[in-house]
Every structure is written in structure tokens, then in C-alpha cells.
């Protein structure tokens, strides 16, 4: 508890930690740009943003969950189930807003169940959402069966994932909107402050008169809705709804982006904006490895290694 030492360490944590990832991102961009000129074309860069939109939306929406000291492993199947829900709403001839709401509602509902169990029954989030992963996947398979459901002749719905607006894919606008909204919520709303407060000191937040359980439930609802939105975009992008979308490992990508962004897995410290940095870092690494023809299996290993290294560095600081 040497004060001088604490100041020094805090100085490093304060100034280096957020910048370390930005620096790493810059280095990687330079390396890829030098070794493969195709990397730095505007087409490829837009492609990267489009590719990370789905994971990015889920990651920005999961940041709050992790900041409160929780985690949501069920986002993969939620993505599949919301795609199916939208598909069936389309089949039933519903108007587009209802279709989208149906998809989002499915995700919010799963999030609500997760949140209620975690907040009110105080069961460990890992196990709860792992069980929910299985339950939601099973539900998706019952609802959708193992076969693909093609979404044809739905130009409005297809526009969500494939349309372009002013030369940019529409999904990028959605991603940007969600990201800005979540940054706004974090920085400019009572909820954002409360999420950080709960992660920092749940007991003190309770003794300050805040509704801890309600807030915790709400962050899981947001996370579920985010995964559902990602599911809508995905199904629109590939014109298909399928019960096995968002395979095991999706949640890892999402969590990886959040923790790479410096959000502590123990709760507390965190930032949606930095999660975006994590998203882009992983996106650039993926894209670069694809361009350099790194096989998919090495990419998986690299991803695991990146997470371990990033977290180990974070743990050393703490």
C-alpha cells in the first residue's frame, strides 16, 4: 500500500493500458499493409467494418454485463433464434417493424431470463448462461429444425444486411448507431454510471439506494437484445435463417473483444468505446490472416493465444 508505488502503478495502468491496444492495432495495420498492399484499400477496410459489425454489436452490448462482474455465454444461439423468429414473422406477412421487434423480443426475453436468474437467485452467471446456451439452441432447433430457411423476395428485410447507403453497407450504419447509443448510455445516463458502480462496489451501490437487481437484470436484457439484432443482420446478410448459426465459439469472440478492450472480467473498470477498439483489433487480425491465407485452424489458436496474453497482461497490472 505504498502510496508512491500505487501512484506509479496507477499511472501506468491509466496511460498505457488503453493505449497499448491502440498501439498494437497500429502496428498490426502497418505490418499487414506492408506485407499485402491489398489490405489498405478502401474496399477492404469497409469490408473489415462490415465483417465486424455482427460481433461488434454483440460485444458493445455485452460490455455492461461483464462490467457488472457477469458474463453471457448464450449469445450464439440467441443470434440463431432471433433470425428464425424474424423469418417466421416474415412468413406470416408481418410488416417490417413487427418482424424486427419479434426478433429483438426473443433476444430480450432470453436476456431477461438470464438476468432474473443471475440477479435474483444469485446463481453463477457462467453456469446459468451455459445452461441457457443449451436451452436456446434446443429451442432454435425445435422451432427451425435442422434445415435452412431461405428468405426470398423480402427487399426491405434484405436491405438490413445487404443494402448500401451513400456507398457504405447499411449494416455499418446500424453498428455505428448501436455503438454510439451504448457509448451515450455509458457516459451520459444514470444506468451507465450505475453499471460501473456495481462492478466497482456492489455493496456501496446498494447502500446508496440503487436498485442493484433491477440493473443487473437490465444489462442481460440489453445483451440479449444486442445478440438478437446481430441475428437479424446475419440472417438478412445471408438471406437465410438457420438454427445452428452463431456456433459454439461465437461467445468467445464477443468476450474476447470486450476483455481485449480492457474491461475487467472481475467487473468494474470498463468502457464501450474501448470494446470497439478490441472489436477492430480482432477484426483486423482476422482480416489480415485471411488475406495472408493463414488457415482457419491457426486463426483459432491465434485467437486463444491473443486472449490469454491480453488477459495475462491485464492480470499483471491488477
Amino acid at each position: 500500500m505504498n502510496v508512491a508505488g500505487m501512484l506509479r502503478r496507477d499511472g501506468i495502468a491509466q496511460h498505457l493500458a488503453p493505449n497499448a491496444l491502440a498501439i498494437a492495432l497500429a502496428i498490426i495495420v502497418v505490418v499487414f499493409a506492408v506485407s499485402e498492399p491489398a489490405f489498405l484499400t478502401s474496399g477492404n477496410l469497409i469490408g473489415i467494418v462490415r465483417q465486424v459489425a455482427i460481433i461488434g454489436i454483440m460485444a458493445t452490448c455485452m460490455t455492461f454485463v461483464i462490467m457488472t462482474g457477469g458474463v453471457d455465454l448464450s449469445v450464439g444461439p440467441v443470434l440463431a433464434l432471433s433470425g428464425l423468429a424474424s423469418y417466421f414473422a416474415l412468413q406470416a406477412g408481418m410488416p417490417l417493424p413487427v418482424v424486427i421487434l419479434a426478433g429483438l423480443a426473443v433476444g430480450a426475453l432470453v436476456g431477461l431470463v438470464n438476468g432474473l436468474i443471475v440477479a435474483f437467485l444469485q446463481l453463477p452467471p457462467i453456469i446459468v448462461t451455459l445452461a441457457m446456451l443449451s436451452i436456446v439452441r434446443g429451442t432454435a432447433l425445435i422451432v427451425g429444425g435442422p434445415e435452412q430457411h431461405l428468405i426470398r423476395n423480402e427487399p426491405a428485410y434484405s436491405f438490413i444486411g445487404t443494402g448500401t447507403l451513400m456507398g457504405l453497407p447499411f449494416s455499418i450504419y446500424i453498428f455505428a448507431a448501436v455503438a454510439l447509443l451504448m457509448i451515450l448510455v455509458q457516459r451520459r445516463t444514470p444506468l451507465g454510471l450505475l453499471v460501473a458502480a456495481i462492478g466497482d462496489n456492489e455493496r456501496a451501490a446498494y447502500l446508496s439506494g440503487h436498485r442493484i437487481r433491477l440493473t443487473k437484470t437490465l444489462v442481460y436484457v440489453i445483451c440479449g437484445a444486442g445478440a438478437a439484432l446481430a441475428g437479424i443482420i446475419q440472417s438478412s446478410q445471408v438471406h437465410t435463417a438457420l438454427a445452428t448459426y452463431g456456433p459454439f465459439g461465437t461467445e468467445l469472440d464477443v468476450i474476447a473483444a470486450v476483455v481485449l478492450g480492457g474491461t475487467s472480467i472481475m467487473g468494474g473498470n470498463g468502457s464501450v468505446a474501448r470494446t470497439l477498439l478490441g472489436v477492430f483489433f480482432l477484426g483486423v487480425v482476422n482480416n489480415g490472416m485471411n488475406i495472408l491465407n493463414v488457415p482457419i485452424d491457426i486463426q483459432l489458436i491465434a485467437k486463444g493465444a491473443i486472449i490469454v496474453v491480453a488477459l495475462a497482461l491485464a492480470a499483471r497490472r491488477a
Binding site: 505504498n2 460501473a196 458502480a197 456501496a204 447502500l207
Partner: protein, 505 residues
């Protein structure tokens, strides 16, 4: 060996954190067969001393000798091997494992292949039980035993390691009265076998019942050492809480006392009780007064005030606020009744250490900074600047992380968080623990100002000097009962000390 040679001896021990001395120049000895009480208020330096003796903390200065040999400092395992055992306040046992396994935790005798030699283990354990005349079922999981038995298991664990000195940190804190007597019998048996014992407790009865000698600490120093037989309770209490009341402090206290403040009753408690904790507590708290609840640690003041705020519930009795019955079932409803609460442990219960001063100050007043669905950072910053100014938080920087402030400034932030609500009733639990003298005075000034603005203030404090300084009225709690209330101007410190010491005095 000379029986009077100390078995454990600390010389010139000191520990500083930054520029704060937690312990200064402490000489401490324990002889074989001696039960030495170690007492002092919170923050007096007891726990630092104990941590140095168990090796958990490396002292800045001084040496420790065990049976005349210099012991390695800051090495917990080394201290245990040399025969210094500590029985902590919180259990240091594995609850699901059997008594037998716990006694031999980490060093069961084994045969080939690491198979535990249960026969030998049991024989040795039974031998130990017989030698120390302790009766316990070796096969019960420790978690299923009553707490007093768990303490005995910890003692056995220490004895199995051939402990020469056992440090007991508030060993009776979790025990019922009958069990305390049991534990004391065990302590006397250990003493008879020449084990040196350091007995840390806040309960004077126990010290007079079981200890031979007493060491009293205050403000990081050892202020007195004595045979228990040569000292009386009021002296002990006075040494513990300090009697530097003369001069300016009393002058400041006398300048303005407002017993019953404006005369308007804000909060009225009748016969409040919580089963097994406190009971029969009745008092009135008036607007514009500071009412101090004092007593020894463990007299259930904290438990009482928690139920007033709503973070805990009382079982019996009634509580009225502004003459109307109040049903306070959560901090939210407590706050809706205009109550603010500064908890005792500011790190665990009060502050968000990794958030900044402005955010911490706004934590109880977020509604004020709401603009539609949004939170106005500008409004928060303005309120923060104003509060920092009024409380003279240093450095006056709203963006500073609270973790980086000194204890006194942290405490000002915590008090300021509630003052921002202009609470009608403000409850503070030990508002100046671990706070330096200058900040203490500032906090008192802040409380007096809030009183001047008509707030009803309830302060829980173990520091008698503090009580005599700020209180308009004083309530004394002993073992869960409010035994007396006085107008501060009409009572002497001696009388309070007598009452705190318990009914027997």
C-alpha cells in the same frame, strides 16, 4: 531454560504506510504461561502488530525473537514452524473436511504412494485430545460443528504444530455466553501447560476474567502495560479511548451544545429489537442535534443503526419519523424518508474506489442530475465542485480517483455524498476511523454545519474524545441495550467511561 524468559519478543517494531505510521516503536513480550490481553480502538495498531508477529506484514523497523532466537520477518510459514500460531477472527478451516483432516491440514502422515496413514493420524490426534483434555468428534465435518468447537479445532491445529505462542484475535466475537466460558477454560488449560497466549478482545469482562497482563494501544503506540490485577476498568477504558480532553477540545465542545436541537422530534424509536442482537432500544432524535451512540465495539450499535436506515430489518418495536410510523425495508425507503447513512467501512461499503470524486459525490443524488433520460455531467461536475469546496477535499480535483485520496479526504467525500441530498436525518457509523487529526476537525465542522441547517444527526463512535467533542446528547450501549442517555453538558467523561465498562462497574 529460564521459565521467565519471553517466548516471544518484539523490539522497536514499527510500520509506516506512505507517511502514515500504523505502528511506532512497539516493544511487546509474551512469557510462557502468560495470557496477555492486547486492546485498543480500531486503527490503534493492534492488527498491524499481530500481522507483524504472524509474518503477514513486513515491519519497517524492529526485530522479533522467538525463545531468544531472531525470527525471519514477513514469512508466515516460518513463523508457524517456529511455533507462533494465530487464531483469526474468521475461520481458517476447510468447512467440508473432518476435524481430523483439519488438524493435520497439509501435513498428514503418509505411507507409500501418498496414502494417508489414518491410523497414525488418529492415534496422534487422540493423544493430543487427551493431553489437553479436549473432547471432540474427530470425524465430524468442521462446518457442522458449533462455532466454539471450531475455535477448539483451530487451537488443536496450533497445538499439533507444537505452538509455543497462540495469538487469538477476538476469539469470542462469534460465541454465545456459555461458550465463552468454555473457551476460557481451554485458555486456562493451555496456560497451565506453558503456552504463551496473546488475547485480543474488546470485551473488558473477558480480559478481567482470563488475562494476566494487558497491553493497551492507541494511535499506533503502546500507551500502557500492566498486570490485570493492578488496573481497574475505568482506567483501561480511559487509556483506550484517550483522555486528552483538556484544553481546546473541551473548550470547543462547550461552545455550542444543542441538546434536543430545535425540540422537533425527527425520529422516534420505541423498543426496537432484533433477536439475539439488540433489544429494548428506545430514543428520540431531534432536528438540529447531534446524538452520539457510544459503547465498546461489539455493543451492537452498528447493527442498530443499520436497521434504522433499512439495510437491515429489526424484528420488534416501532419506528416513527416526523410523528408517522415508518416502514423502512430497504436503503431506498430509508432515503425516501430523508435518511442518509455513512457506513463504518468506507472501502467495503461506502466508496467506489476506482471511480472519481465527482461520481462518488453524485452516487446518492443521481436523480438531481437527470435531464430526461440523460445524466448531465455538467450538473454533476458543478455539484461536485461546490461540494469539494464546502468540504475542502484535497486535492480539489473532481476527476481524481477516490482510491488516490487520503483516508480523511475519502471520508469527506463519503459524508459529502449524503450531504448533497440535504438529509433530514444523517446517520454516521464511526465517521473518523483511520482519519488524521486535521481531517477529524474538519469533519466535525461539517457535522456542526449540517446540524445548524436543521438536520438530525446520529453518530456511532467508540472514540470518547470524539463523543465529548461533538455530541449534544450521548447514548451508551452495552451488549445490545441502550443503558443510558445524557445531555452532553450534564455528564462527565468518567461517568460515561463507567457506564461503557458495563453494569458490573
Amino acid at each position: 531454560m529460564n521459565a521467565d524468559a519471553p517466548v516471544l519478543r518484539g523490539v522497536g517494531l514499527g510500520k509506516t504506510y506512505g507517511n502514515l505510521a500504523a505502528l511506532a516503536d512497539a516493544d511487546f513480550t509474551v512469557r510462557p504461561g502468560e495470557v496477555r490481553a492486547l486492546i485498543g480502538s480500531n486503527g490503534a495498531g493492534k492488527s498491524t502488530l499481530i500481522k507483524i508477529l504472524t509474518g503477514a506484514v513486513l515491519p519497517t523497523r524492529g526485530t522479533v525473537e522467538i525463545e531468544g532466537q531472531a525470527a525471519p520477518l514477513g514469512d508466515p510459514l516460518g513463523m508457524i514452524r517456529r511455533g507462533v500460531a494465530c487464531i483469526y477472527q474468521h475461520s481458517n478451516l476447510a468447512p467440508a473436511m473432518s476435524v481430523l483432516d483439519n488438524i493435520y491440514l497439509g501435513r498428514q502422515p503418509t505411507r507409500a504412494l501418498g496414502i494417508v496413514d489414518t491410523g497414525r493420524q488418529r492415534r496422534e490426534a487422540l493423544d493430543l485430545l487427551a493431553r489437553h483434555d479436549i473432547d471432540i468428534d474427530l470425524d465430524r465435518p468442521v462446518g457442522s460443528l458449533p462455532t466454539v468447537k471450531q475455535k477448539e479445532v483451530e487451537i488443536l491445529k496450533a497445538l499439533a504444530l507444537d505452538a509455543r505462542v497462540i495469538l487469538m484475535d477476538e476469539p469470542t466475537g462469534w460465541l454465545a455466553a456459555a461458550d465463552v466460558a468454555r473457551l476460557h477454560a481451554t485458555v486456562r488449560a493451555l496456560k497451565a501447560r506453558g503456552v504463551g497466549i496473546v488475547y485480543i478482545s474488546h470485551v473488558l469482562d473477558e480480559i478481567f476474567a482470563v488475562c494476566d497482563t494487558v497491553t493497551i494501544m492507541r494511535d499506533g503506540r503502546i500507551v500502557a502495560e500492566s498486570d490485570v490485577a493492578a488496573i481497574d476498568r475505568p482506567t483501561v477504558v480511559r487509556l483506550m479511548v484517550g483522555d486528552k480532553l483538556a484544553g481546546e477540545a473541551s473548550g470547543a465542545a462547550l461552545q455550542q451544545r444543542h441538546p434536543r436541537g430545535t425540540g422537533v422530534v425527527r425520529m422516534s424509536a420505541r423498543d426496537l429489537g432484533k433477536r439475539g442482537v439488540f433489544g429494548g432500544v428506545s430514543f428520540d432524535l431531534h432536528a438540529g442535534e447531534i446524538f452520539c451512540l457510544t459503547g465498546l465495539i461489539g455493543s451492537k450499535r452498528t447493527e442498530l443503526v443499520r436497521t434504522l436506515f433499512g439495510s437491515d430489518r429489526f424484528d420488534t418495536g416501532t419506528l416513527e419519523i416526523d410523528g408517522r410510523p415508518a416502514d423502512i425495508r430497504s436503503p431506498q425507503s430509508g432515503m425516501a424518508h430523508g435518511i442518509g447513512f455513512v457506513p463504518e467501512d468506507r472501502h467495503r461499503e461506502g466508496l467506489m474506489l476506482d471511480m472519481n470524486v465527482t461520481e462518488n459525490l453524485a452516487m446518492a443524488t443521481l436523480d438531481r442530475h437527470r435531464r430526461g433520460p440523460l445524466l448531465s455531467r455538467g450538473s454533476m461536475a458543478r455539484a461536485g465542485r461546490q461540494a469539494i469546496d464546502e468540504l475542502s477535499v484535497r486535492p480539489p480535483d473532481g476527476g481524481k480517483l477516490v482510491r488516490l485520496l487520503s483516508g480523511g479526504n475519502q471520508q469527506k467525500v463519503l459524508v459529502g455524498k449524503w450531504l448533497g441530498r440535504n438529509p433530514r436525518i444523517l446517520i454516521l457509523d464511526e465517521p473518523t476511523v483511520g482519519v488524521d487529526v486535521g481531517a477529524k476537525a474538519e469533519i466535525y465542522a461539517i457535522l456542526r454545519r449540517a446540524r445548524g441547517e436543521g438536520a438530525a444527526i446520529l453518530v456511532v463512535s467508540s472514540d470518547l474524545e470524539e463523543v465529548m467533542t461533538v455530541a449534544d446528547r450521548i447514548g451508551v450501549m452495552v451488549s445490545g441495550r441502550l443503558v443510558a442517555t445524557h445531555d452532553a453538558g450534564a455528564v462527565t467523561q468518567e461517568q460515561i467511561v463507567r457506564e461503557i465498562g458495563g453494569g458490573t462497574a
